[in-house]
């Protein structure tokens, strides 16, 4: 059974101007659809990756998964329980301690005024759990030393901080960790350390990851399944090999083509056309159609549904 089941998930932000401006300028309310009708499932002990360009709704989905944001519609079920509609406080609490998150910016993720020990044990301490020696144990598990528990975050480098964040995430012994761009602020050499650590911990603790990233190489390296987002919509979902070898959606193809390659010496690519449209007034039909090299009439009119093709899911009228 899937650990995470996301159904028809949408999130709309109200970005209207103040009331008075709307009245005077005769505008209606403006809504930004950050996430629109997204469906996916995450198997236990697997890594599910979400990729997409900036503003495609990755973080918004991540926050809805962990309950930091409420969905506008649709549901997120973790272990069969929907945090938004569940009323049993005990169940909610149980699920909450089952989910953790690692953020992009290791510098902003740690309260600079707290000692590392207090930071790490906070998830447990705030629930009244036993914290004796816990921080030290976790620090060793993430490859730091016991002495570090008494230090303050500013005494650590970015990679070390990310390890502390991981230690904090592990403190409440979660099943699911949502990682929002965990390495994009790190240098390659440190990124490798963190990615390796994440893989090790996954095996050791039987963790499930939802990995959010815009870096295709990282995603390919880590994920068991990849979902590609464009303008808040899931446009394609497949295993790494399928996705990278035979991308079905023109956007995925464009993305793969445009991404710089380590062996692409002097590669002359035709750079993709245009930029991501304004999410407040997204294009009709398939949101990608204005930039799509193969777009046809139907793409303008009708929003493509997710279809399964050869074990991949793709939302494109023309994909086959």
């Amino acid at each position: 059974m899937a650990l995470v089941r996301v159904k028809n998930l949408s999130r709309v932000f109200d970005v209207s101007k103040p009331w008075l401006n709307r009245v005077i300028e005769r505008r209606s309310k403006a809504f930004l659809t950050a996430v629109s009708e997204v469906d996916f499932e995450v198997e236990p002990r697997s890594t599910y990756a979400l990729v997409g360009e900036s503003g495609s709704g990755k973080s918004t989905i991540g926050k809805m998964l962990v309950g930091l944001l409420k969905p506008s519609s649709g549901t997120v079920e973790i272990e069969g329980i929907d945090l938004a509609s569940e009323t049993d406080a005990a169940k909610i609490d149980a699920i909450r301690s089952d989910i953790q998150m690692i953020f992009q910016d290791p510098y902003a993720s740690l309260n600079p005024r707290w000692r590392v020990r207090d930071i790490i044990v906070e998830p447990v301490a705030s629930r009244g759990g036993r914290t004796e020696g816990l921080a030290e144990k976790l620090l060793e598990q993430v490859g730091l030393s016991v002495q570090d528990a008494g230090k303050f975050p500013h005494e650590f480098s970015g990679g070390q901080r990310q390890r502390i964040c991981i230690a904090r995430a592990l403190a409440s012994e979660p099943n699911l960790i949502v990682c929002d761009e965990p390495t994009s602020a790190l240098d390659v050499s440190v990124q490798a350390q963190v990615l390796n650590l994440m893989s090790d911990l996954k095996d050791d603790f039987g963790l499930t990851y939802v990995l959010i990233s815009h870096d295709l190489t990282v995603v390919r390296h880590m994920a068991d399944k990849i979902g590609v987002l464009y303008l808040g919509r899931l446009v394609e979902e497949a295993s790494p090999n399928d996705l990278f070898e035979t991308p079905k959606h023109p956007y995925t193809q464009m993305l793969l083509e445009a991404a710089p390659q380590m062996d692409g010496f002097g590669r002359e690519v035709q750079p993709p056309e245009g930029e991501i449209p304004d999410p407040i007034n997204p294009p009709s039909g398939c949101a990608f159609h204005p930039r799509c090299p193969i777009a046809q009439d139907i793409c303008k009119r009708q929003r493509p549904e997710m279809r399964s093709i050869n074990g991949m899911r793709v939302a494109c009228h023309l994909a086959e």
Binding site: E53, V188, P260, G264, F265
Partner: protein, 324 residues
Amino acid sequence: MADPVLSIRDLSVEIPTRHGIVRPVDGVSYDIQAGEILGIVGESGAGKSMAGNAVIGLLNPPAHISKGEIWLNGQRIDHLKGDAMRRLRGKEIGMVFQDPLTSLNPLLRIGDQLTETMLTHLPISRAEAEKRAVAALEEVGIPGAAERVNSYPHEFSGGMRQRVVIALALCAEPSLVIADEPTTALDVSVQAQIIALLRRLCRDRGTAVMLITHDMGVIAEATDRVAVMYAGRLAELGPVRDVLTHPQHPYTHGLMASTPLASQGKRRLHQIPGAMPRLDAVPDGCAFNPRCPHATDKCRQAPVPRVSNGQAACWYPLVDEKVI
């Protein structure tokens, strides 16, 4: 070979700090030819930006050039002061910064920022400058340039703004462009557009480009030669294909190996232990020695050999280590 556009000789930059003198650029030398793109790559804090700022004379005090020479088109410029240096900026050296959102003055129209730059450097009339401003915007691929000159920066998207910044850097036709992480803040698709633009300009105008980035992929695709920096020093310098496919310096090698590559599947990533030292605690000898698997006592004591084109700053350069 023709004289290089830019030639840096044994350049050091020093910053006096609380913990002693920090040397974010330490004995760096390289040349850039006309029409060539030199990539500068390295981890955050390796001194890439400092080197670029030193060239254009925009080091923030107390940082200053402590040693070495910088030659631009046969003129020595590292000791130029005040107005003399200012005349070179924009005119001879164009600069593109990382963040297009903050590089443009929010209160001035794009066109005004362009004409003001041209009028400062070129002996042309205002009308002429305005005409050229439109042309400059067209050249970097801004649609509807004639109207867009009257727009304010906030009316552009990120990618467009970076094009404007490039247009500004190029509008006085400098012979050298320093681009400090020009694409880091941008999406891949836009990044590809900007890189293509830079390459085209370099090719069409014969401009020399110094492209600072930490993205190996960008280096591979965009540059002709690459200089790898580590802890303020040059680790390796050479044609991009040689350096990336056959790195001689263990650091370059480690860097390449720790990047997840499609070809290598899901195996454990190669990992360089530790992290780049803080610049106030660079170890003696080779700066990389504590992290290097091959380090000997010699690496820990003797200063490393000098880098020359195609050769690494290492006592024990790797041979035949193919990475890609």
